[in-house]
């Protein structure tokens, strides 16, 4: 099957912004997951709930909140604009929407894999003189890495599927902010069914691949 330039462009754009979003949230997600799994601190449950909120809120509502935060009429949006950074209605908006929407999935998945690491290993490493940083990078991360990769894959898939928040924050501008999901919606609206089905095929294939990989990783992580 030969894909049209438009289809290629949409696919590559979605994959690259999705990848950028996943890489962007990875360090924060890992840090937050670790704080949730290993530390007790005041208001932890409140922060946990806020982080997980985009998972259950209608994505459009999340999008609206983001628009209010990053729109040029908000103080923060204005501040960014004064520094030459515009989020709304361009690829950065897509990135932010994807990042916010996939963050909770990443945190949840990584938190679980951290909790499955026996804290005894970390404790013994401490008695052997290791610093917290060394324990984290030499013991915790290597023991949890499969869960971390699985979480990243899951976040990546979620980013690719993002629709509601993206359309509010970045719009649905062909060639500029149009992702796979947004394009499918547009094509169906415009009656371009065959183009829509091609994209549908791509999304199903990608989703299948990612979920399959992530499940495989989680299963093999449990075994070891």
């Amino acid at each position: 099957m030969i894909l049209s330039f438009e289809t290629w462009h949409i696919t590559v754009f979605s994959l690259s912004v999705g990848l950028a979003s996943t890489l962007l949230i990875l360090p924060f997600g890992i840090a937050m997951a670790w704080l949730f799994a290993r530390k007790e601190w005041p208001l932890k449950s409140v922060v946990e709930t806020i982080v997980l909120l985009p998972l259950v809120m209608p994505p459009v509502s999340t999008g609206l909140i983001l628009l209010k935060i990053f729109g040029r009429r908000s103080p923060f949006g204005q501040w960014l604009y004064d520094r030459g950074v515009e989020i709304v209605f361009n690829w950065k908006g897509v990135l932010i929407a994807m990042a916010v929407m996939s963050f909770p999935l990443l945190v949840r998945s990584v938190r679980t894999s951290f909790s499955e690491v026996n804290p005894r290993f970390e404790q013994i490493a401490a008695t052997l003189g290791a610093s917290s940083l060394r324990i984290f990078f030499v013991i915790t991360i290597p023991l949890a890495y499969k869960g971390i990769i699985a979480g990243a894959l899951l976040a990546f898939s979620r980013a690719l599927g993002e629709f509601g928040a993206t359309i509010l924050l970045a719009g649905n501008i062909p060639g500029k902010t149009q992702t796979l999901s947004l394009a499918i919606y547009s094509f169906v609206q415009l009656g371009k069914d065959s183009a829509a089905y091609t994209l549908l095929g791509i999304t199903v294939a990608l989703a299948f691949l990612f979920v399959w990989c992530s499940e495989w990783l989680l299963r093999s992580a449990k075994k070891t």
């Binding site: 008695t127 003189g129 023991l143």
Partner: protein, 357 residues
Amino acid sequence: MLLRCQIPLPHFDLDVDVAFDARVASIFGPSGSGKTTLLDAIAGLRDITAGEIEIDGSTLFSSARGINRTPRERGIGYVPQEGALFPHLSVRKNILFGAGRSADISRSKSISVEHVVNVLEIGSLLDRPVTKLSGGEAQRVALARAILSQPRLLLLDEPLASLDIGLKEKILPYLARVRDEFRIPMIYVTHNLTEVLTLADWVLMIRQGRLVTQGVPKEALRSMHAIMQLPEDQFENVFTVTFVESDPEAGRTKVRLQAGQELFIPYLPRPGNDTIQIRISADDILVAIKRPEGISAGNVLPGTVRRIDAIDGQAMVTVSAGDDFYARLTASAVKRLGLVEETPVFLIMKTRSFRSL
């Protein structure tokens, strides 16, 4: 070493207040008595409500003075019950994990990797993944890892508990070698009496979070409190003896007690070290008031009853026959023989009732 700590636990409070000076101090008590909690507290892995921990004059914890050094700063090598070898690292990386710690914070002379590897005989295991080790090998590797972190104190939590009997007998000598070669003070948690008598020079007996008794193992364990808590099969006599001669044809080996008496034990080839430890259960010693004749037992020692501790129809009879022997008899036997302190008696022990370590 000073150890004073209070820790609330779900079913009782751990409340211990002891000071001792020992090469190997054993914490002895039944499962669930708070032994592991105590080790965790010493290592700094668990919060202490109130108390003080001091080793070699340096304070690791003091609630009164607001001192609480982190596990990292304490310089304590901990071998937990499950070993807790890092599963993603090879044996070599495991044992070297703590080796970077500078020796000067805790010890004057650092212990070399080579020395530890030789003493514990783990040279052939170094490149193996730890997931491919047997239980006994894993314990030795965990021990090596703790020793190589140059600790000022070693904590061993039931290192033999997960091993079967045959393997226990093999690992016990390694522990004795660690004690003698590296001169690191040890705290050894166990619920096995043989291990206490073999390795320790001080015993703290705890139950339900409280100290029941403490002292030199042989003395402390004889006390009433101690006897009452001992599992049926666990009261053993342990002696350090000198090898005299071996006769494979006769199937026996002659050894000499420190006080000079000679005993026959099952045949063993001449050991590298002339001093060995042997043991016999208190239930396997017969007591007679006349010298027996025409019996198969290879050992008949004259002695004098020094003390009788009777509880619940049982009596622990201490007989001085050069060394002290403990024989556990029924109250009825004590009565039939008319045993009292100073009664002259003969101890009858089958050669094959002795075991060597």
